[in-house]
């Protein structure tokens, strides 16, 4: 029961911040995909920067355990592209569709209904996909520092510098 309560509270905080950052809207999501408005990219990269430093710090201190998903080239690439196509049509992602509904953009309901149907279809197709796409290029739980052979803090510092340069570029171009 407690764990469900934590889930709810965490979601409320995240949804609140997504809405305050104005990243839930179709216009913002498509704005990014049309390379006209980088609001959602700013939000994501800011989230990632803070969480990355914190999680690696706590992991180094032995206080948290990283949870790395396996690099499955077939699934990550094909599934990723398919998701992108659907995202471009829907204009919301699975989490933000609920947030968009929360701020009154009720076209998200059609997307939520579609995602429930799509999840059912995926369950039907799963045995076939498991034997095919999901088995292609399974390379294991790899991280960028591992494949580069670098200390993770070097990669994190480079990531932060890259993000800040990107932010400066966005602000200069008014994106």
């Amino acid at each position: 029961m407690t764990i469900l309560f934590y889930g709810l509270i965490t979601g409320v905080l995240f949804g609140f911040l997504l809405q305050k950052g104005r990243v839930l809207r179709y216009d913002k999501q498509l704005g990014a995909l049309r390379l006209q408005d980088m609001t959602i990219v700013k939000f994501m990269l800011a989230n990632i920067m803070v969480a990355m430093v914190g999680v690696y710090l706590l992991s180094d201190l032995g206080m948290v355990k990283l949870s790395i998903r396996s690099l499955n080239l077939g699934a990550n690439i094909i599934g990723g592209l398919v998701f992108g196509i659907g995202w471009g049509l829907l204009g919301y992602c699975p989490g933000t569709s609920l947030g968009a509904l929360g701020e009154g953009r009720w076209d998200a309901l059609w997307g939520i209904a579609g995602m429930l149907v799509g999840a059912g279809l995926y369950a039907e197709a799963y045995p076939f996909l498991k034997a095919t796409v999901l088995s292609w290029g399974v390379l294991g739980r790899l991280t960028l520092p591992q494949v580069l052979g670098l200390n993770h803090w070097l990669v994190i510092i480079a990531w932060i510098i890259g993000s800040l340069l990107l932010f400066r570029f966005f602000e200069k171009k008014g994106l």
């Binding site: 998701f83 196509i85 204009g91 919301y92 009154g104």
Partner: protein, 176 residues
């Protein structure tokens, strides 16, 4: 297009994003839970199908792996709805809208085409997300913050697919 001065342009996405990063971090540190959303749609589809064909759902391989039940992530996704509602009501930015402004400017105000695109887009999006093993939360935020290659590859592909569709829908013109 109606502009609404003072209905808050909201917070800086940098500030809101960084604070949400802190929420991600606290969730991992205090509860051991990483953000994600798409599995919830699988569980919910299983819960709904289970109302009609429980024996069949119990036999299906995916529903044995991703058991139809209400878990931390399910409540997290519901929480996103409530948090957004709370925020939108608190600053007057709540807006009951069936057709987004950008869509209406390009395709007109009719609800049907927008509903169809959203519905079929939703089918495709979740199918792709589950195939990829995550969505922009599970791969994009959770994966990339740990510098996982699966997260980075998936996130790049999310944007590539989306860029192509956005261009097909809206053309390359810069005017909105």
């Amino acid at each position: 297009m109606p502009t609404r001065p003072n209905v808050a342009s909201g917070w800086s996405p940098y500030v809101a994003g960084a604070l949400s990063g802190l929420v991600s971090l606290l969730s991992v540190a205090l509860v051991g839970k990483f953000f994600g959303a798409s599995t919830t749609f699988v569980r919910t589809a299983g819960l709904i199908e289970g109302l009609f064909a429980p024996a069949r759902v119990a036999r299906m391989e995916l529903f044995r792996l991703e058991v139809p039940l209400i878990d931390w992530q399910w409540m997290f996704v519901v929480g996103i709805f409530l948090g957004s509602l709370l925020s939108a009501l608190s600053d007057g930015s709540y807006r009951w809208q069936a057709v987004p402004d950008m869509w209406a400017a390009r395709f007109g105000p009719a609800k049907g085409p927008r509903a169809a695109a959203a519905f079929f887009g939703g089918i495709i999006a979740i199918f792709g997300a589950r195939l990829a093993g995550g969505c922009p939360s599970g791969h994009g935020l959770t994966g990339v913050m740990q510098l996982s290659l699966s997260g980075l590859v998936a996130l790049i592909c999310f944007f590539l697919g989306g860029l192509v569709v956005a261009r097909l829908l809206y053309g390359s013109g810069r005017a909105s």
